[in-house]
Amino acid sequence: MKKDIIFAGVGGQGIVSAAAMIVTQVDKLGFQCKQNEVHGMAQRGGSVVCHVRISDGQIYSDIIPKGSADLILATEPMEALRYIEYLSKDGTVITSNRPFKNIDYPDEKDIINSIEKRSNSIVVDANGLVDELKNERVINVAMIGALSKAIGIEGLKDGILKDVEKRFSKKGEAVVQLNHKAFEFGEAAVQ
């Protein structure tokens, strides 16, 4: 078993913590993991990428070789495209459809089209989710929901849900429920 996953987004969107949430659980399940994070300059509203490698054997490289990632998980559609060269031929893109426009932004429809043109692509309707739950911060949990379903590692979902509960229980049951809903929303986007 080997899963190489690129996490991509914009500085401040919580890419590093999203990756850490997955890695912490997978590590607990006994797999080898490496997580390469971005620190420093790039975090200030710039493009941010995190390489996550999971395997049942030894992992040598700290970064994923271009052309061999199994998945890209992006919290922002242009950022999904930015790292597309990392993806293997039959790798899957999972992206939020919610653009982050802190730069001169092309027509977002063209970006989504270009992603959907690929045979393996999953666009999570983060716009719809935010409308429904009236909360911007749950996008990451939804994306993690989609990823956890797509990776299909046994026990991963339970671990993450427990973690979500631990993280948000201080903020009250309503917040925990909100995040559960977001997780399921993401899961539902993956067939």
């Binding site: 590590d27 080898q32 993991c33 620190h39 490289s61 070789p65 950022e79 930015r82």
Partner: protein, 533 residues
């Protein structure tokens, strides 16, 4: 944190290695990709305050290095850590500490940044170890980062030399599981029997340097015996590979399926192991050197081969087999091995993917400072230069500001503006952050004030070291103001502004007035970084 294994960044693995080596102190100035070393020690100290480990940030790298030598003199172990360019700042005490040698162990962790993810250059710290004639450890994974830190402290005390531990960005910032060995306690306080070695008068320095030269043989023997220099000969294979650090990982990533037959020497300890190099060179017809950073091993290799009388060809960065600039990647190493690319060029995303460079946060105080400064400088374009420095405010080089015109190294804004002023530039402005000012802005400002140069220094005091994640600043706010007063500035030309939109007109006026003043003026723009919690 005392459990037997943990998932750690390379930086954190070094921190835990140092803690388990019984350090009494860690001295550091923040800088990507090294910052998380000291932060991990500080977190540990917050959770386990006893026995005490001093781990507050130092004012700059030179001071950090000297602090370590001070602790070493009284027998205590300490870890110094910094980014690669920090070693330039620390170079004076660093070079001389090789001559004094150490009492308590000193390990200097220097994090290099090939590809310049967050740096002004991609210098290779192994050259510093070589320059000072001290050993260098170079881990290739997080476990080795821990193990080598442990070993480095023992070797430092055994051979009485400081040790440099070199790592690069990807290793520093990748998290993987690390197993711990049994921690050891701190050293007892012990004064030296003899102070000669610590007092580098020429009469003492000469015998000390001689001792250092004499140690080299032992250090090479140690290096040859070390398991961190790992030699695997594959009988009959024509290709020999010498690799270090992440180069080893990228090599193995590509050949773990056995697709290429070769002998491999992985270098983890320098000075280079002579016997192992000889053995490898005798077994093959061609050597490929895969190392991250400068072609350091590759440059040394021919002199060894000549001495051994071995004639094999050497490939690497110097002949273009590998690129000289930038970090290595699995793909680059793959190409150097002559293996086919894994990349598929199906994806044409041109036009849709636009650069997204880092930018100042919405509401950042530097934003308002730059808007006011730009307005004050309007119409003066032919007679002005805004010299800047390193920090979040360097992002003022990008649109929409394009306020600043230079960034060299920490503190240089003030020295450069002062020189431009005395060499005829009418409006010479320096923009420098509070942490950078403390680090190396104080001395050039003192010089400029005492020499009465006509320049304008803007200290953008956001009460933190924001660029590297918000470490506290040693001297800011009122204390900073008092410091500048103490330097002897004419107090009419020490101005304070609050960089806020509603203060804009007022701030422009202050800038305009001080730009016209034909002497040194200091404007402190004081408002907290909005990311401070």
């Amino acid at each position: 944190m005392s459990s037997e294994s943990m998932a750690l960044l390379g930086d954190e693995a070094i921190a835990m290695g140092a803690i388990h080596s019984g350090i009494s102190a860690a001295y550091a100035y923040p800088g990507t990709p090294a910052t998380e070393i000291q932060e991990a020690i500080q977190k540990y100290v917050a959770a386990y305050p006893d026995p005490k480990i001093n781990s507050a940030w130092s004012i700059n790298e030179k001071v950090a290095m000297e602090e370590a030598v001070g602790a070493s003199l009284i027998g205590k172990r300490s870890l110094v850590n910094m980014k690669h360019v920090g070693v330039n700042v620390a170079a004076d005490p660093f070079m001389n500490a090789a001559i004094t040698g150490c009492g308590g162990g000193i390990v200097i962790a220097a994090a290099d940044d090939p590809s310049m993810h967050s740096s002004q250059n991609e210098q290779d710290s192994r050259y510093y170890a070589d320059f000072a004639k001290i050993p260098c450890f170079e881990p290739s994974n997080q476990q080795q980062a821990y193990d080598m830190t442990r070993e480095a402290f023992d070797i430092a005390e055994k051979y009485e030399v400081p040790i440099l531990l070199r790592l690069t960005t990807r290793l520093a910032h990748t998290r993987a599981r690390v197993s711990f060995a049994k921690p050891r306690g701190q050293n007892e306080l012990k004064l030296p029997d003899n102070f000669k070695k610590w007092t580098l008068l020429p009469s003492n320095a000469r015998p000390q340097y001689k001792k250092l030269l004499q140690k080299q043989k032992d250090l090479i023997a140690y290096s040859d015996a070390s398991a961190f220099n790992e030699l695997k000969i594959t009988k009959g294979s024509k290709l020999g590979i010498i690799t270090s650090g992440l180069g080893y990982n990228y090599l193995m990533e590509n050949i773990q399926d056995g697709s290429i037959e070769c002998s491999i020497l992985r270098i983890g300890v320098y000075p280079l192991p002579e016997k192992k190099i000889k053995e490898l060179a005798s077994s093959c017809q061609e050597i490929l050197v895969i190392e991250e950073g400068y072609p350091y091993i590759e440059r040394y290799l021919p002199s060894y081969l000549m001495r051994f009388g071995i004639n094999v060809s050497v490939k690497g960065k110097l002949d273009g087999t590998l690129p000289e600039q930038g970090e290595l990647t699995p793909g680059i190493v793959r190409a150097a091995l002559g293996m086919g690319s894994l990349e598929n060029c199906e994806s044409d995303t041109s036009g849709l993917v636009r650069p997204r460079p880092p930018a100042l946060c919405k509401g950042c105080p530097h934003h308002d400072t730059y808007l006011a400064l730009n307005e004050a400088l309007k119409g003066k374009e032919k007679e002005r230069i805004v010299f800047s420095d390193i920090g979040c405010y360097t992002l003022g080089a990008y649109p929409p500001y394009e306020t600043i015109h230079s960034c060299l190294c920490m503190g240089a804004s003030i020295s450069m503006a002062k020189a431009a002023a005395e060499n005829g530039l009418k409006y010479a402005v320096a923009v420098i952050g509070d942490s950078t000012f403390d680090h190396s802005g104080i001395t050039p400002l003192l010089e400029g004030i005492k020499r009465e140069n006509p320049f304008t220094v803007v200290i953008v005091d956001n009460s933190t070291t924001a660029m590297t994640g918000g470490q506290d600043t040693i001297c800011g706010e009122t204390a900073l103001e008092k410091l500048v007063v103490g330097m002897g500035i004419d107090q009419k030309h020490l101005r304070r502004i609050i960089p806020l939109p509603k203060q804009h007109e007022q701030n422009v006026k202050v800038f305009e007035e001080e730009l016209e003043y034909a002497g040194p003026s200091v404007i402190i723009a004081l408002r907290k970084c909005i990311q401070i919690k």
